[in-house]
């Protein structure tokens, strides 16, 4: 019995219903249908799920989705619209017909749809996150998919770092071909490579100097010599929707002694954490061990220092289950997670290194093969 059937049984629900576009990772996972407009997904215990699409999407949905495909007309939606029901009401009416009883829905189910659906059947919340739980344990095919995206990502990073490596400092600002080398240029270079290999980079971080002390600062403008440059790149493969995620920190020129020491601590923290990853290891324990490791090296984890979690699951979302943070639970074989310790000090800068890999029964099957090299 899969996780969804189990959740339906436990909840005493007749069906599971979700509503969203493929930007909703649960919907994408369940339907494998790529759509910018929302679709309805309904699954009954032991049956193949069903996706309801507009007429014009029918043929494409049949091609793309392993779910049964029904048009909105066949599912009764258009009839309800013609009868004057507003959009949410007609959608709820149709879902109620398809479900035939209490409906289990995900946490992000739209309130407007739930309120209408409640007038037909009880609406039960899947508080345990059945689909998120299924998504967190990857199949061998998903693992190979994500590994291959990591290969593309490393090649993209290589292109970006080549620009930095080939730059020269003029008055502390990196230059190429007589012009300042910007974060935007490095980002575009990497995104262009990703694009040519079917992946899309979004909000890729290329931050430099003071900005690196903010872990999520996107970075902009000319890059500086002798200052840390953090590149955090987490592209999505367009066809499959899966992500990779990696971070490297580099300095073109001479890093400060503080940055050098931080780099060594972060590199060692990553190796330590990775060595503890296996099925059964508890995310919160790995996180706490990292906090303690940094403390032993003289870095408190507070408003500064190691300010974020140790890692997270990666899949159809760049951040998904399981967590390697303070609330992290036991890992299971098939999880794909990042290990990404970092240290951040306003005035000094930030250092982060991030690898990604699969949890196995015995260890961490690291996808990331990119070298760790602070000084370019």
């Amino acid at each position: 019995m899969n996780g969804l059937d189990l959740a339906l049984q436990e909840a005493g629900a007749a069906a599971y219903a979700a509503y969203g576009s493929s930007a909703d990772a649960n919907v994408r996972y369940l339907t494998r249908f790529s759509t910018t407009d929302p679709v309805v997904y309904v699954a009954k215990p032991g049956e193949r799920g069903m996706i309801v699409v507009p007429q014009m999407e029918h043929e494409r949905a049949v091609r793309e989705s392993p779910a049964a495909v029904v048009t909105r007309a066949d599912a009764g939606y258009l009839e309800y619209i013609k009868a004057g029901e507003p959009r949410w009401r007609a959608t709820a009416h149709m879902i109620a017909d398809l479900a035939g009883g209490p409906v289990l829905v995900p946490a992000n189910f739209p309130l407007a749809l739930a309120r209408e659906l409640e007038s037909f059947h009880p609406v039960l919340l899947d508080t345990a996150g059945a689909v998120e739980g299924m998504r967190a344990v990857k199949t061998p095919e998903e693992i190979e998919q994500i590994r291959s995206i990591q290969r593309i990502t490393e090649a993209a990073l290589d292109r970006g770092l080549a620009l930095i490596r080939g730059a020269v400092s003029r008055g502390g600002v990196l230059h190429r071909d007589g012009r300042p080398l910007t974060a935007e240029a490095v980002r575009t270079e990497m995104h262009t490579h990703l694009l040519a290999h079917g992946c899309r980079g979004t909000d890729t971080i290329v931050s430099c100097g003071p900005d690196t002390a903010l872990p999520h600062s996107a970075g902009a403008g000319p890059l500086l010599a002798d200052e840390p440059i953090v590149i955090d790149i987490y592209p999505q493969h367009e066809r499959s929707g899966y992500h990779a995620d990696m971070t490297r920190t580099v300095v073109k020129g001479e890093p400060s002694p503080e940055i050098k020491e931080m780099y060594e601590a972060v590199r060692d923290a990553k190796a330590l954490a990775a060595s503890g990853v296996r099925a059964g290891a508890v995310g919160a324990d790995l996180y706490r061990a990292t906090v303690e490791f940094f403390r032993d090296r003289g870095y408190e984890s507070d408003m500064r220092g190691f300010t974020h979690s140790l890692g997270h699951g990666v899949g159809l979302e760049v951040h998904e289950e399981p967590s390697l943070g303070p609330q992290g639970k036991a890992l299971v074989a098939g999880n794909v997670v990042t290990i990404e310790p970092g240290l951040y000090y306003p005035g000094t800068g930030g250092v982060r290194l991030e690898d990604m890999g699969a949890v196995t029964k015995t260890d961490f099957d690291r996808f990331t093969q990119y070298p760790e090299e602070l000084t370019l």
Copy 2:
């Protein structure tokens, strides 16, 4: 009084609350903050809205967002988490504190959050879509932003069409440099141009031959001579989040007489519809006039022929209000809409032409300047 304050007053609500990442166009519109992880937005009547973010996002949010920025710690969230409240409960608790009374929420507000919030205050649904309504009327700045994205989009299309124009037919398949020219190659060429200009193309349609009879078929594989090629390109500007949207249909070689006739009908339908656009014109009337125009030319709008709506609003979402479909209401000055008639016949193929522009008091301020040229 803005649309949100009016909705709050009408609903008798103490505050408006939204929850989402910047993939949620309402959240992006209200916060102007770019984030892949969800944030909370709360607005009280007559006050500047407030965005609640993790500590590590505080500085960036202050930089990017015109809203007041509060950390989750300052808003009490972490305290509730420490006290053992689950995530949705703690988020609802925090929103309840900030709102201090009945809360108005958007249609897509997560059910899990609403159920928790209901234990503190009444949760009222914004069924009229106050924020969608605000978004549908663009400011002059938004109009210029979208116009500039359209310029980039046309330059990208130009690059894609240049590949097709320079191709030669070998046995009916278009070739360049001795190899078949594929939909993927044309798409990548356009996406690369978009990327270099700060835009992201997603699911750009480059369909050919039989595929063109499916309006949303993405298209794949070698492109054919003498067959229609539909290119529908709707990139998003990465920094601002706004979209453009355009479609052209071309044939490299000799189009069939049916396609030629369809092209002329679609081109004339577009001109007719555009000539009717102005503030006060009703979307449904424009749609119906197009249906009638096609019928007069011998094309019934049914399961085949003109199967979709005439157009839609464009902004932070590629499909947003207002609609130029069967349910379309009166247009107002500041709407940015597409005009995109199309005809689709399995066995023959499809033709679609799409322009975008702003609705003014007197006419359609067309952003699209790209020529209409069937035969390359």
